[in-house]
Amino acid sequence: MSLLEDNYRSVLRLLPAAYRAQREEEMVSAFMESVGDADDPDVLKPSWAEIASVAALSVRIRLGGVGAAPRWFAWGETVRLVALLGLVFQTVISCVYAGGLLLLYAKVHSPGAHYEPDTGPGGAVGPIGDIAQTLAGGLWIAALAALLYGRVHAAKVVALIAVALQLYFVAAIVANDPYWWETLQRKGSYALLSLVSITALTAGFHRDAPPVRRGGWLSEPALGAGALLSVAVGVAGVQLDRRPWSWAWFDAPGLAGPMIVIAGAAYLGVHAYAPDRRTPAWPLALAILAAPVLCARVAGLNFSSDDAITRAVNAVMLGQSLAVTFVGLVLLVVGARALPASERVADAGPLVNEADGSA
């Protein structure tokens, strides 16, 4: 076996074992023939384009769509749910932010220094920053709407722009902040949630993915009511802002944590009392999302001060972190147990020989 073939077989290990058992030999054959004219195959490695094509194939198989083996389909549904929940959460955050901003502008015509941690030091970002951040929120809402109405490509592009805007904001705020490391931890860890959402959206909604089923929690009335409630929460957040206990409940991880805990508890209730409605996708998706939320929450802890307010906020944040960790771990175990068994070789691909109908 040449070094090139050996390297290519290593690349093929990206594919699930059962798929490889069926396809490896003919893929190696096709690849080696395609580079057959090379003078010295022993010094060649597969091109990055070849490696990328195998990696993309691996993602498409492992996050299976229609016709995939049950285990890979379950993982595909999980990642697609992560993307959907991520977009819904970004929509909630956008509405909360817009609600708070509306009230601030109505009260004082400008949020000024009040929103300094979010809009830039010294109000440097100011109203333009408010508009841009609201625009980024609008992009998340547009991405969710596009996905719900079957415009998957548009949803990916719009969500990517929203993430880019968010990252730009993080960079702009951190660059002007003397306490940039703390700010980067806080803002960067929140951006992690956006990155998880966009990664899941990009990887999960491939060409074989089934369309999103609108209805239930994804119906227009439910989402509209959720948006109104989120705006109201944003308004309440500003009203309560002078009370320190409220601080850890109205920022992004403070909103996401309870949502994960409530949704997780609701699923565990379904799991216990309605066995026919058990699914691996919900618990696993919530457990996956719990990880970036936990990172964002823990990053917000402040041990550099020892005043009563800081201690109170830290206590709330620690409580939230513990609740998210506990529920996340329980969901992980429940979801893993609900996954269908590993695929058999026969399930790996639609290879049917027309002569005898055998796989």
Binding site: E33, V54, E354
Partner: protein, 112 residues
Amino acid sequence: MTEQAFFVLTALADEPRHGYGIVREVDELSGGRVRLKVGTLYGVLDRLAADGLVVLNREEVWQGRLRRYYRLTDSGAAALEAEAVRLAENVRSAKDRLSARHGRAATAGGSA
């Protein structure tokens, strides 16, 4: 139908072909514009096989290597034909519009 799937089906229209045979044929049919990587090819083949548009025809061992040949099914031929008709309609529409544009330009040039 994606352009890659269209070319793979076209490559199998006249005879069954194996993996590298399809890659080479698609390269030729597209004038070198579509160069399928092996991972991409098998992604397309999986999708077409799942939809019943292609089917495994036979296996051969050539110079110690496995070659699997794929064949276009009747459904595959029908899908390819429908796509070819759709693309031909698009081409015809574009040609009609361009002819009209050239005609207007010639008239304007002649009257100037």
